[in-house]
């Protein structure tokens, strides 16, 4: 526990949680002590809405995937709890054919909520297995199907749900303090998840699933976890909700509720826990005020006419306006503690113990070739990208990979890192055949890479970018890596705000943090001037010296390549045309020709 708290990010998160809960407690106390019955009712509605929106936030906010179906889990929780808590005699009046286990059940609040949470988690686990593997558009479609199918079930499975009539006689066990407790628990759960290892990885996968995979995250698995957790939260919230309404029918779990909750999420800021609560507050308050207007309200001596539908109308208008004005929501990506920081002088992060070594990676048992690709072929719809290309890198060696545009360098990296399957040939990492392994497994076995077009986790901080890829989240390791690449003073900046050179260095830091046996750098010096690329040469040499890893570097800055690399391999049109020391390659006429273009006399065929 102490170790978990030790990370400054998590300490801030706990502060935020505390602040948010304090606000909720104060609000609850004020309304309970001073408010009317009506305002107490509104408070409970708000707290329950907050719980539901937090359940949504854990999935939609953290994974970035739209789900239309989560209200189905709310419904499941609600129905299950109703069946477990309605006194058996009243139950028998409504659903006489209910199965004996449920017919006789008469549970209290906490057991009912727990059972609901567990059952919805189970259902989500079963359904999610297939769903989570789908492409995002299809997944959104499947969640829509879930909503519609659940609704059809609620409406038609009369022996259990009493169909369109719904259930009544549910005890009103959810008081303001119970709702507060639920909301507080959910705030903690949502925030803890967000900052946890799994939560970080899921958010990294939201920002750039390919980079996350290539750096060791099993994207499907972490999203599956978010799916189950969020469904279970919806089930628990639905359970408490059922215990506050006395009666309900299937229409509560269809599009109106979905839209309303999504509105709260979007208005507040979907990636922020604070935003979720704030959105719930704003929309609940508006809904409450407006429904009174709908009933007809007196302003002074003027009586306004009844206007049905005002609520939905204004809510809808609010969504449109707020999306145009603040597409990221009121809180944007900030949490409550970030509001504090604006008024506090920012304390520069200490560089940490610079002498903590990362440790050398283990050398392979064999002849020293830590990475070898043999006779790789790759075709894209008839275009031959690679033909019989082989490549070896020894421990501690820096291999430069160069060639004109379209020669296949990046394709080769993609094959080696597991992103593309080759049409022929094998890839071995530390002697082990990794040819058909998915990218995250290749990464776990010791291969890390950077990307030609920067693929940072843009809306995560620098520190989070690094933490999201490593397993032990030892703050010392993170600090060490950041210090190495001169990123310590921007550690808490959002990656998207960094200047270009820093972004390139962060890409490298992220890959280095994996302590790989082989590091692939795809155009690390792109866009850098001479000073920067000299600095890069020094840094790369340092990395090689300390980690003892092998490196493959692609770049067009041939001055950098000549300085940095022990060996150079030249590709042209998918084939290797030269391998050797920098001097040998620079003198090779075939290389010069590949870059500058063929002499006209050598072209075959009519002009």
């Amino acid at each position: 526990m102490r170790e978990w708290i030790s990370s400054p990010r998590r300490r801030r998160a706990m502060l935020g949680v505390g602040m948010l809960i304090a606000v909720l407690v104060a609000l609850t106390a004020a309304v309970v002590a001073l408010g009317t019955d009506l305002s107490r009712r509104t408070l409970i509605v708000f707290l329950l809405n907050a719980m539901l929106v937090l359940g949504l936030q854990v999935f939609i906010g953290d994974t970035g995937i739209v789900s239309f179906g989560h209200v189905a889990f709310m419904g499941m929780g609600a129905y299950l709890t109703a069946l477990l808590t309605i006194p058996p005699r009243v139950k028998a009046l409504q659903v006489p054919d209910l199965v004996a286990l449920l017919a006789h059940a008469h549970l209290g609040l906490i057991p009912a909520v727990v059972v609901s949470a567990l059952v919805t988690a189970l259902v989500a686990a079963v359904l999610g297995g297939g769903l989570i593997r789908m492409q995002e558009g299809a997944m959104a479609m499947a969640t829509l199907a879930l909503l519609v199918i659940a609704y059809a079930l609620f409406q038609n499975w009369e022996s259990v749900t009493r169909g369109t009539l719904g259930l009544f006689g549910i005890p009103a066990d959810t008081t303001a303090w119970v709702a507060l407790a639920g909301a507080a628990v959910f705030v903690v759960v949502a925030r803890v998840y967000k900052e946890s290892r799994a939560g970080l990885r899921v958010r990294a996968a939201r920002e750039d699933p390919l980079a996350a995979k290539a750096l060791g995250t099993n994207v499907v698995r972490v999203r599956y976890g978010a799916w189950i957790l969020s469904a279970s939260m919806m089930g628990a919230a639905g359970s408490l909700w059922a215990l506050s309404v006395l009666a309900f029918d299937p229409n509560q779990f269809f599009f109106a509720a979905t839209f309303s909750l999504l509105a709260m999420l979007v208005v507040g800021g979907k990636t922020s826990v604070t935003g979720a609560v704030l959105g719930a507050a704003v929309v609940t308050f508006l809904q409450d005020t407006l429904s009174r207007v709908e009933q007809g309200v007196r302003i002074g001596s003027i009586e306004l006419p009844r206007l049905t539908g005002t609520v939905d109308f204004v809510i809808a208008l609010l969504i449109i306006v707020s999306l145009i004005w603040r597409p990221e929501g009121v809180m944007g990506r900030r949490e409550i503690e970030d509001l504090l920081r604006r008024f506090r002088r920012s304390v520069p992060q200490k560089g940490g113990d610079q002498h903590v070594a990362l440790g050398r990676v283990e050398a392979p048992a064999n002849d020293g070739a830590v990475l070898s690709a043999e006779a790789i072929d790759k075709r894209f719809q008839g275009l031959i990208a690679l033909s019989g290309v082989s490549l070896t890198v020894a421990t501690g060696e820096i291999l430069g990979l160069i060639g004109p545009n379209g020669s296949g360098k990046t394709t080769l990296l993609n094959v080696v890192s597991g992103i593309l399957p080759p049409d022929g040939g094998r890839v071995r990492l530390g002697g082990r055949d990794v040819t058909s392994l998915p990218p995250h497994q290749v990464a776990t076995l010791g291969l890390a890479r950077t990307f030609q077009n920067i693929r940072l986790f843009s809306h995560l901080t620098v520190r989070e970018n690094v933490s999201a890829v490593i397993d032990d989240d030892d703050p010392a390791v993170v600090t060490r890596v950041l210090g190495w690449l001169q990123l310590d003073d921007v550690a808490d900046e959002e990656a998207a705000n960094l200047p270009y050179g820093a972004q390139r260095r962060l890409e490298i830091a992220r890959a280095v943090a994996l302590r790989p046996r082989v590091l692939l750098l795809d155009e690390p010096a792109a866009g850098m001037n001479e000073n920067e690329s000299d600095g890069l040469v020094r840094t790369i040499r340092q990395i090689r010296d300390e980690l003892g890893c092998g490196l493959v570097v692609i770049d067009h800055d041939l001055r950098l390549i000549m300085q940095l690399c022990d060996r150079i391999q030249v590709l042209d049109q998918g084939r290797t045309i030269a391998i050797g020391s920098p001097k040998e390659v620079a003198d090779d006429p075939a290389v010069i020709e590949a870059y500058i273009g063929r002499n006209e006399a050598e072209v075959t065929g009519p002009p």
């Binding site: 275009l383 041939l558 273009g597 002499n599 075959t604």
Partner: protein, 251 residues
């Protein structure tokens, strides 16, 4: 190299002045200045990442410059939307060809002429282009996505010509093509040159480009580092720029 009558002393057709373009934090072009006279073929060379494609896309209106200006025939066209730049007489043959894959060859050409109002002239041009690019005529009903790389490149050039541009921008036409196809493309470009077409050619194939061009600019990391008549740009200098060696170092 054949000489084409140029309007010496006349105002340049295209004037790019102190153009600076950024992609977010990355500065892609720094105060680049370029001139092209009517009937000239100018080539822009340079290693990858030098900003050549950025230059063409900015002229064509797909990117907004930070500072600086672009004028065509004396009229400013800086910041105009791409569909308006086309109507002023600039046509771009984009990098990677970018043909409309599900449209037929003929339909691709017709889209190229979408800004034209004269149906007869359009048809005449269509026939003329089929004559100049016979392979396109053979495949006129085929979906453009099924053409080979070289054929798509021809289609992209023909499509650009359909708008009867006064200035043709070509972005790396030889990229990704087999040597024979490259030869054909450059022969076509040569033919266009003889017809008096004004062209700005971005190329990686230095030798070919210098053969065809009247003048050349060399870009490196977003700046013009060298310019002059194509014949003057000694091959040695080009090599050094590409291989990253300074003038004092040996190869």
């Amino acid at each position: 190299m054949q000489s084409v009558p140029k309007h010496e002393g006349a105002a340049p057709l295209l004037s790019v002045d102190e153009l600076s373009v950024s992609y977010g934090p990355i500065r892609a072009l720094h105060e680049v200045t370029i001139r092209i006279d009517r009937g000239e073929v100018v080539t822009v060379l340079g290693p990858n990442g030098a900003g050549k494609t950025t230059l063409l896309r900015t002229i064509a209106g797909a990117l907004r410059p930070h500072t600086g200006s672009v004028s065509l025939g004396g009229e400013p066209i800086t910041g105009l939307a791409p569909e308006d730049v086309v109507r002023r007489g600039v046509a771009l043959v984009p990098e990677g060809r970018r043909v409309f894959p599900a449209l037929s060859v003929e339909e691709n050409l017709l889209v190229g002429g979408i800004t034209r109002r004269d149906a007869e002239g359009l048809q005449a041009d269509l026939q003329r282009l089929f004559a100049m690019f016979p392979i396109l005529g053979e495949r006129r009903g085929q979906a453009a996505g099924t053409l080979s790389g070289g054929e798509q490149q021809q289609l992209a050039i023909a499509r650009a010509l359909m708008s009867r541009p006064s200035l043709l921008l070509l972005d790396e036409p030889s990229l990704g093509l087999a040597p024979i196809a490259v030869g054909r493309i450059f022969a076509l470009i040569s033919e266009l040159r003889e017809q008096g077409e004004t062209m700005l050619l971005v190329e990686q194939n230095v030798h070919r480009a210098l053969e065809i061009a009247d003048r050349a600019y060399v870009l490196s990391v977003g700046r013009v580092v060298s310019e002059g008549p194509a014949a003057d740009l000694a091959r040695g200098d080009i090599e050094r720029t590409y291989l990253g060696l300074s003038a004092t170092e040996g190869a």
